[in-house]
């Protein structure tokens, strides 16, 4: 008891690395899944996955049992560092199959692809995916699935070792949103609850897709990448390849669910259905979708693009939900809808959906805070003595939380701008540079094709890909976790 009051001044590196080792063993286990797919389809990439899985698991094993930390305590710093490191390590080992497969990628492409996978960005450095083996395709989608709910959260659910206050720090560093609502008293129970729900949704989606025109493999891959709002596909034409309204509808619904706060869905699953309608953020999520839908329809009708029923019902809805949840899938005829729609998409990308979901972006929660606070400030101009509060979900939000949110949004915009400026240094046209940076920070991964610059991210020079990888990680861990590591105060005693 008396010891817990002595604050740590130096970072417990051995312990951090040891935990990373543990997590790598889990990644090694995940790599077995695409290995099995390769075996089932009799593909040569089996070897690549076997090597990757063994290398990953072995490194993990060595780090876990080779490192003997003298202290086992982990504080705030270790929590943040560990979370950021885990994501980097996962991507570093997750890229191995891409480099060893039958169409090997170079280092920067492979890392970009892996980071884009784990952060559920879905931006791809590949020009065509169809030439790759089933194993590679499954691995891309599986990475998104793991990253969608969170690597740490998964670990908290399966490894009891982290079920202490150190695990708490990591949970806070990884889970999105302003306040991190716990569902159950112990962190492992919360993690288990969330992952169970995630697993359940994935299973349902797989089944629904399988019933439709897709085969089992494609259903599984698309289930992985849709519920995680990642957006990788097994076809070059993405889900347009099936040309099926059913597939589009099912995926739209599940992308939508992927953008809802999982804590809220967990409560609903336990019989508290009304909690949806009492939640301001969820209501705002629905309203934003509806308002944008009206705008989209006006734009589509205005440009005379109404060809069939789906072109003004399902297509715009699909596009809106795909963008707001940061999935980043596009419908085929989307370029013909005009610049106004493109501008609206930028706004959606910025919003993102609910905090605590698998989506990216700045999160509607924060936008709501900002809007309500701005409204208060404007009102105060003429009524300076009014006492006002920002009230969300019937709870008054403390002023310091509001200021933290505003700081977040400012830094968020600054990082997008900084990323864009940096990319122009690699001879990428201005608009495309800023768009790529925006798309990666918000983990949307809409192709640069949207702005007319090349088909995929393959065209970006390798140094630019490293920058984008960092931006994706920064966006996924909601800025502060990564930014903190670049401040001298973090490392100093």
């Amino acid at each position: 008891m008396s010891r817990q009051h002595i604050r740590l001044t130096t970072i417990n590196f051995p312990m951090v690395l040891r935990v990373v080792g543990w997590l790598l063993m889990i990644e090694g286990a995940f790599l077995v899944l695409p290995l099995m797919a390769c075996a089932a389809y009799g593909e040569t990439d089996m070897e690549a996955f076997a090597i990757s899985a063994v290398a990953t698991a072995l490194t993990g094993l060595l780090m876990t049992f080779g490192i003997r930390p003298s202290r086992t305590d982990m504080g705030k710093r270790e929590g943040f560092l560990l979370t950021a490191l885990v994501w980097v390590f996962f991507s570093a080992f997750g890229m191995l199959p891409f480099m060893l497969c039958s169409h090997p990628l170079e280092l920067s492409d492979a890392f970009f692809e892996a980071m884009s996978g784990f952060t559920t960005t879905g931006a791809s450095a590949l020009t065509s995916v169809e030439m790759f083996s089933h194993g590679i395709l499954l691995w891309r989608c599986l990475m998104q699935w793991i990253g969608g709910m969170g690597i740490i959260l998964f670990t908290l659910a399966v490894i009891p070792m982290l079920n202490h206050s150190g695990g708490m720090q990591m949970f806070n560093a990884e889970v999105t949103g302003i306040t991190h609502d716990k569902l159950r008293p112990r962190i492992s129970q919360t993690a288990k609850g969330l992952w169970f729900l995630y697993f359940l949704l994935t299973a349902i989606l797989t089944l629904l897709l399988w019933i439709g025109p897709m085969d089992f493999f494609d259903s599984l891959c698309h289930a992985f990448s849709s519920i995680s709002t990642g957006g990788y596909s097994t076809r070059d034409d993405s889900i347009g390849a099936w040309n099926s309204a059913y597939v589009k509808l099912v995926i739209t619904i599940f992308m939508f669910l992927g953008g809802v706060n999982f804590g809220l869905m967990y409560k609903a699953m336990h019989g508290n259905l009304r909690c949806f309608w009492r939640n301001d953020v969820f209501k705002a999520y629905i309203r934003i979708i509806l308002v944008f839908y009206i705008f989209f329809v006006i734009a589509i009708v205005g440009r005379g693009q109404v060809t069939d029923l789906s072109s003004f019902t399902l297509d715009p809805l699909f596009q809106i939900i795909s963008t707001i949840t940061s999935t980043g899938l596009t419908v085929n005829n989307f370029e013909s809808w005009g610049t106004f729609v493109l501008a609206l998409l930028f706004l959606l990308m910025f919003f993102g959906s609910c905090a605590g979901s698998t989506s990216g972006g700045a999160k509607i929660d924060r936008i709501l805070f900002l809007l309500k606070n701005s409204g208060n400030e404007v009102y105060r101009c003429i009524h300076p003595n009014t006492m006002m509060s920002v009230r969300i979900n019937d709870k008054v939000i403390a002023p310091d939380v509001v200021s933290k949110v505003i700081a977040f949004l400012c830094i968020y915009v600054m990082i997008i701008a900084a990323g864009g400026i940096l990319l122009t240094a690699f001879n990428i046209p201005l608009v495309d540079a800023f768009f790529s940076s925006f798309s990666c920070v918000s983990n949307t991964g809409l192709g640069t094709g949207v702005t007319g610059y090349g088909e995929s991210y393959a065209i970006i020079p390798s140094s630019g890909k490293w920058v984008l990888s960092l931006l994706m990680l920064t966006g996924r861990l909601e800025i502060f976790t990564v930014l903190l590591l670049f401040t001298p105060g973090f490392w100093r005693k």
Binding site: S2, R3, H5, N163, S165, R184, P185, R186, I187, A398
Partner: protein, 444 residues
């Protein structure tokens, strides 16, 4: 086990942290969001912001499914009402912190049960009892009777003059003494000692022994028993009032308090004690009140620092027994290393009482004592539990757990490596903080 704690004050948050470390499901409820935020971000528990007496807040916290509801806000009325609500919502067991001796009386217990309050804890009363025990036995720092005194746990500070000092524990065992050194507190940590550990100057040793051998320990520690008669109390806190009330006429109390209003109240509440209005930090005041004639000095002001320093000053004046109330947990270790006789902490006393209740629901009978970072528990052994499988030596106990003694058929005895523990025995276990769950495994 699911535990809801209402009130994130000192006792509440301390309990919440402790229980969360013991791997219990803890939900902490308080109306103050700021108090909760710090705990929520750093500990493996859930917090719920809202009034502890609100039906909505308590149902949201899941009181209906909880095994234990603990109300430890600063106000006893709030606590009683919160418990009553919790019980009606479905809590299995409720505990309220109170500050009124009347509530504790046996004849009123039926009333509280009817209200839905199963247990009451009264930290000030516990502290006063603790002080009284240490006034009776001036040479010990901690005294803890188990099973009506069949076994006793005694904490003693060892100095150079003790015959024990410098001995290795295995030599001690070989010389055939009838006590067992269960734990050693050395500087800032507690050690569960092994045979080759050596006792050194300034260690605090925790012995377990049977009734007849306590004198033996006192001699081995080189201590003398002093009879206390005149006691100077600094600070007329609630503990002081309670102390004066339960001590009766065994001691002559003189209470010094700085606040005039409070002194007037004290006169009313403590008819047998002498009340002095003055600043006990002032040496002239102390001299005037005859500090040199006093047998014991008890510092009970709200400030731990003042209590510690005042006790040291009193010691310099030749007072044989000093007792200080230290409420800041981080000050306990340094204070123990200083020359202060006994340290009292309401929080630890309250939490040990609650732990005792917790264990009582698990095993049929148990007692509990929280030291600074170790715990002592008395647990009844059930048939078929792991601990009965062979002699203690062969059990390969974890290094942070030791079996300090046992009570068989109502008689206390010490445990050696050859002892085989039988079902029905009451075993006294010492363990370091955060390892209670290991013990549960051993006895499950």
């Amino acid at each position: 086990m699911k535990i809801v704690i209402a009130g994130a004050g000192e006792v509440g948050s301390h309990l919440a942290k402790l229980l969360s470390k013991e791997e219990q499901d803890v939900i902490l409820v308080d109306a103050d969001a700021e108090k909760l935020a710090a705990i929520d971000a750093n500990y493996n528990l859930m917090t719920n912001c809202g009034s502890p007496t609100s039906f909505t807040v308590l149902s949201e916290a899941g009181v209906a499914q909880c095994d234990l509801f603990i109300a430890v806000t600063p106000f006893e009325t709030t606590n009683v009402i919160a418990c009553s609500i919790a019980k009606n919502l479905g809590a299995k067991k409720t505990v309220a912190r109170i500050d009124n001796y009347e509530f504790m009386e046996q004849r009123n217990s039926a009333f509280f049960n009817a209200l839905g309050v199963n247990n009451l804890i009264y930290p000030e009363y516990l502290a006063a009892k603790e002080i009284l025990t240490s006034l009776e036995r001036t040479w010990v720092r901690t005294w803890f009777d188990i099973h009506d005194g069949e076994l006793t746990v005694v904490g003693v500070k060892i100095r150079d003059n003790a015959p024990l000092c410098g001995m290795q524990l295995k030599d001690l065992a070989a010389s055939g003494h009838n006590f067992h050194v269960a734990a050693i507190r050395r500087r800032n940590e507690t050690i569960i000692p092994r045979g080759d550990d050596r006792i050194i100057h300034n260690d605090i040793l925790y012995f377990t022994t049977t009734r007849d051998h306590i004198e033996n320990i006192r001699e081995m520690c080189g201590k003398r028993q002093v009879n206390i008669r005149k006691v100077l109390v600094m600070g007329g806190s609630r503990i002081a009032v309670r102390l004066a009330a339960i001590a009766g006429d065994r001691y002559k109390f003189k209470i010094i308090d700085i606040d005039r209003q409070r002194c007037v109240k004290l006169c009313e509440r403590c008819p047998d004690a002498k009340i002095v209005n003055g600043d006990a930090r002032d040496i002239d005041t102390l001299d005037e009140e005859g500090i040199d004639d006093m047998d014991a000095f008890i510092a009970l002001t709200d400030r731990s620092e003042t209590n510690i320093l005042a006790s040291l000053t009193a010691k310099e004046h030749g007072i044989k027994k000093t007792i200080a109330e230290v409420e800041d947990l981080q000050f306990i270790s340094p204070a123990e290393n200083l020359n202060i006789g006994t340290i009292v902490n309401k929080k630890l006393l309250a939490s040990s009482t609650i732990f005792q209740m917790l264990l009582a629901t698990d095993s049929s009978s148990s007692k509990f004592l929280a030291l600074a970072d170790a715990d002592v528990a008395e647990i009844e052994v059930r048939a078929g539990s792991k601990i009965t499988r062979g002699p203690v030596r062969s059990l390969r106990l974890s290094r942070d757990v030791t079996i300090a003694g046992l009570i068989r058929d109502g008689r206390g005895m010490l445990v050696t490596g050859q002892t085989v523990i039988e079902p029905g025995d009451h075993v006294v276990v010492f363990c370091l903080s955060g390892t209670i769950h290991k013990i549960e495994r051993l006895f499950g």
